[in-house]
Symmetry: C2
Subunit: 316 residues, 2 copies
């Protein structure tokens, strides 16, 4: 298992800069007042394909040598990694095959296809996903870019925390949602090296709290097919992300479905950005644990904004 | 009638800088491809009270001498000017009285009250609004800050185009929605002085096309109580805004209700920002008149983002 280094993250940033956006920070006097904290929202939903995952995907795609690149890339993903890898592959002009649960939101499937990615559907469980993928990968010979358990991907995701720190002049706490742990691992990689005093808090849905239980137990616990509105956070930790989570995360906080939906609507209303349910888990946990964040400078990573606008959760 | 000058706009910018945000520019490769133009969206929906009108309102409020300020400010407004004036007044700690149509969206009323503004409701017509306002103003003695027909307000709105030009390195065309014409007049004030080669196009709902008909006729035509989903654009031109519109606007383009709603949803989906129907009229007119914009660098002012999230127009 190769553990990506701080230098890998710096190299990734140089490699991907031409292909990603340096996304802006949003602030809201209203949300600061509501939480008692000073909140800095890093808008990764403003990446062209609508999610931070374009960072890790671009680092993998543009790091391939020409021979490897011929067969393209392949992956399995609950959504945003698939569209972001398709997008990065389209920028380089190479094929991208993705295995995706048939239950993934239509908006996410559309995005993958718009970027030229080829989708093979599987059942919405980790086991079905991995089985289907093995078949696709052997057929195409594409380079496997795991959505999170890949040092290239983690180094890429770490560039987000680097920008966030530059844009805010330092933070007491960074909160990011946790599914497989790619963004959280990248954040750990960057902050443990350049700002070890900054706390890293992972935010997870109660209904998919495998990372929380893993963190408390001291070993990986994986659930098959959890169900939550935060559909980007369904997947379990793997060895590489567990390394970062177990060594560098300060705490994992959870929120209920209702709390996530309330936070989502609050973000749309006061930040005036379209953010996914998955991206709303950090704000939900901050609202639930105000004492912990009061008076602190808190960075929050808005991980994505690919939402089916015909199926808003507060209107269902 | 005092016509604000370029220097008034520069002075306004210095005066209001501590109180407003220098809002970011959003771009979308997808929307560029769809329109054939290079689009730069200036996100005034990211101002703290959610609309560009905080610029003109702050310029008026912070330009008052201490004696004038004691009685506060007063205005009538279909929504965003009211909340922005209340916000600016709250920053200075002075009273704000607003007359607002009873049919204004609940979200806008809530925002006014949150900032300490006192609302008096009127019927949704220009005549009722002006009558109710005269009563309120004589009772309170507040300084009347008209939503658009005020040189201080127009000078303030002009600061938006100034930032837009700085942030984009110049543009061929700037498109802004037109209601009473405050933003368009401010844009004319700034661009006619510093970038006279840049075209200024005003975008208006077909169902409230009084500015379009005025522009073609060569004199102000005012409708009483037009109806459109773009509820920020219901009011007619007045002498001061007519001065700017008639002298400096290149053209006025219109869009249907359906085209406005489609553009609104498209903006939410691909820019991942919450923008009002009123703010979506420019994109609707660009999509409808692609030949006119193809190959051009086009600035679009996203004027506001105060939306009732329980009443989205594409779900009604």
């Amino acid at each position: 298992m190769y553990i990506p280094t701080f230098q890998d993250m710096l190299d990734a940033h140089e490699r991907i800069k031409p292909h990603i956006r340096r996304t802006p920070i949003r602030t809201s006097a209203y949300l600061n007042e509501l939480t008692g904290a000073q909140l800095f929202f890093k808008c990764e939903n403003f990446q062209e394909p609508g999610a931070f995952k374009v960072r890790g995907a671009s680092n993998a795609v543009f790091g391939l040598d020409d021979d490897q690149a011929k067969n393209g890339v392949a992956t399995h993903s609950s959504g945003n990694h698939a569209s972001c890898l398709s997008y990065a592959a389209s920028l380089r002009g190479i094929p991208c095959n993705v295995v995706m649960p048939r239950t993934a939101p239509q908006a996410k499937k559309d995005t993958v296809r718009r970027y030229g990615g080829k989708i093979t559907e599987c059942e919405p469980s980790t086991s079905s996903r991995e089985e289907t993928f093995a078949k696709i990968q052997s057929e195409t010979g594409g380079d496997f870019v795991h959505p999170y358990n890949d040092p290239r991907v983690i180094a890429g995701q770490g560039t987000c925390a680097r920008e966030l720190m530059e844009q805010t002049d330092g933070l007491d706490i960074v909160v990011a949602p946790i599914g497989g742990g790619g963004m959280v691992s990248g954040t750990c990689l960057t902050l443990s090296n350049q700002a070890p005093e900054t706390q890293i808090i992972a935010a997870e849905p109660e209904q998919a709290d495998d990372a929380y239980r893993s963190f408390k137990a001291g070993h990986i616990i994986a659930d098959d097919a959890p169900k939550t509105i935060a559909d980007g956070l369904l997947v379990p930790l793997k060895d590489l992300t567990w390394h970062f989570v177990s060594n560098h995360v300060t705490d994992i906080l959870t929120a209920s479905e209702e709390e996530i939906i309330d936070a989502m609507k609050l973000g749309w209303k006061h930040l005036r950005i379209v953010m996914e349910a998955s991206s709303s888990v950090p704000l939900a946990t901050i609202l639930k644990n105000k004492d912990r964040f009061a008076g602190k400078r808190v960075g929050i990573i808005i991980t994505g904004g690919n939402v089916d606008l015909d199926l808003l959760p507060w209107l269902q």
